[in-house]
């Protein structure tokens, strides 16, 4: 995959260790990460544990959201809830047209609840999802809340 867009390359430069593996020759890595299609991007935490992956080409305005989402999911799954909340909030406020917004609202609510122990953040997220994305699976996932 090439990264011709300045804001994408800047974001990768500032936030990730960039690792490139040749799909035609890196057979051990392909096996290790169960990769069988290209382009595939695998996002790992600083210990090398996978938390997110992305297949296929996307235009830069959609791709940048997945870069933020990958960092957010890594932070969330490694208990960095304050950082996760900040990153999910950046998606919600900065990219309101993105398909990833319902997921970001869901995890923003959970992350804020984890930080504060205040369950009202779950109610707030559920209400926002019902209002703005009534048909989203992420809204259905809030039903028990």
């Amino acid at each position: 995959m090439t990264y011709p867009t300045e804001y994408v390359t800047d974001y990768i430069f500032e936030n990730f260790i960039a690792w490139r593996a040749d799909f035609d020759t890196e057979t051990a890595l392909l096996r290790k990460f169960d990769v069988n299609w290209t382009p595939t991007l695998v996002f790992l935490d600083k210990k090398g544990i996978e938390h997110y992956r992305l297949l296929g080409f996307l235009p830069p305005e959609a791709f940048i959201v997945h870069l933020i989402l990958a960092r957010a999911r890594i932070a969330f799954e490694t208990s960095g809830y304050a950082e996760a909340a900040e990153l999910f909030d950046r998606i919600v406020k900065g990219y309101p047209e993105s398909e990833q917004v319902p997921q970001a609202i869901y995890f923003l609510g959970v992350s804020r609840m984890k930080v504060t122990k205040d369950d009202s953040y779950l109610d707030e997220a559920a209400e926002e999802l019902k209002r703005a994305f009534p048909d989203s699976e992420w809204t259905m996932r809030t039903n028990p809340w």
Binding site: M1, Y3, E6, T9, D10, I12, F13, E14, N15, F16, I17, A18, W19, R20, A21, D22, F23, D24, E26, L29, L30, F33, V35, T38, P39, T40, L41, V42, F43, L44, D45, K46, K47, G48, L67, A70, R71, I74
Partner: protein, 33 residues
Amino acid sequence: MAKQIEWLTGEEDVMDRAKNTGKAILLDFFKPT
């Protein structure tokens, strides 16, 4: 001016950098054209 991404290719180097910087890792499986 756009920053240049420094693409690493060695797993050990990648893991050292990630450990030292605390940054996440983006692993790109690409097909050379």
